[in-house]
């Protein structure tokens, strides 16, 4: 069963986006997180719908004209892991 990544509940967040960066106030911890465009795009993608890391990697590889290589997929997993630590994304299962 493939793990999906989803956004945390919108009620937990207060977000402000600028061109290069986005700030997310995460109510459960009272912390403010700063993301640049790449992790922000990941948050935006999983906000639209839960996705596997493989799908996220493919979509971002297409967007960035990158090869969807193992290294690229690993990078996506690492960013997802960081975002999970911050509470901005959650793991879920279909």
């Amino acid at each position: 069963m493939n793990k999906l990544w989803a956004a945390c509940p919108s009620s937990d967040l207060c977000a402000a986006s600028f061109e290069e960066a986005s700030l997310y106030y995460y109510r459960p911890t009272g912390e403010t997180h700063l993301l640049n465009a790449f992790p922000r795009e990941i948050v935006d993608l999983v906000t639209k719908q839960p996705l596997t890391s493989g799908t996220i990697a493919k979509q971002l590889a297409d967007l960035c004209d990158e090869e969807n290589s193992e290294a690229w997929q690993q990078k996506i997993k690492e960013v997802l892991s960081d975002l999970k630590m911050l509470g901005l994304v959650i793991e879920t299962y279909p």
């Binding site: 493939n2 999906l4 989803a6 956004a7 945390c8 509940p9 919108s10 009620s11 967040l13 977000a15 061109e19 290069e20 960066a21 700030l23 912390e31 403010t32 997180h33 700063l34 993301l35 640049n36 465009a37 790449f38 992790p39 795009e41 993608l45 906000t47 639209k48 719908q49 839960p50 996705l51 596997t52 799908t55 979509q59 971002l60 967007l63 960035c64 004209d65 990158e66 990078k75 690492e78 960013v79 960081d82 975002l83 630590m85 911050l86 901005l88 959650i90 879920t92 279909p94």
Partner: protein, 184 residues
Amino acid sequence: MTIHHQTPKETVATDAPVSEKRRTLIKASATVPLAATLFSGSALATSSLACMGGDFSNMKFRSHGNSINGDTAVRVPVDYYKKKKRKDCPKKLRGELNKYDNDLYKIDGGLYHNSGRLNGVPSNILNKCYKKPEKAYVLKLYDECGTALGAWPKIQRVEDGGYGTPITGSCLTSIAVSDSCNII
């Protein structure tokens, strides 16, 4: 943001295409994804605790090699000297040339090797046996209290046996940084 409480099902996104400007930003930041927490108040500044996503290469250049594009670490520009080939150094100076390291960074008036070793290179050797200096962007390092220690390699990183820790620009909300510090 959307709430996902129900059993989710993966589908392919069909949203409007990302604008070219945003796409450029995403591509640029793909090199160094930054996901950091801004701490308020206290002088917590240790990047390994407060920041994620930094690319802490010790030294980068603006136009070649390890590019600073997308870099989020706090850096300072310093003069970087690279030794010429031995044959390009005047014969009378070659004998002494081996005493000095190949790559040197000028920090606070001293010439430092990657290891932090101070090289007392005479000016005639520096002028004739080293290439013209170029600007290298080296990490500015901090202690665990957020106090600036100085630039690498004069100050060495903790993992190399020194006391310095690199930080990213996003950590600066709790640190007073001097005007001489470039945030790239």
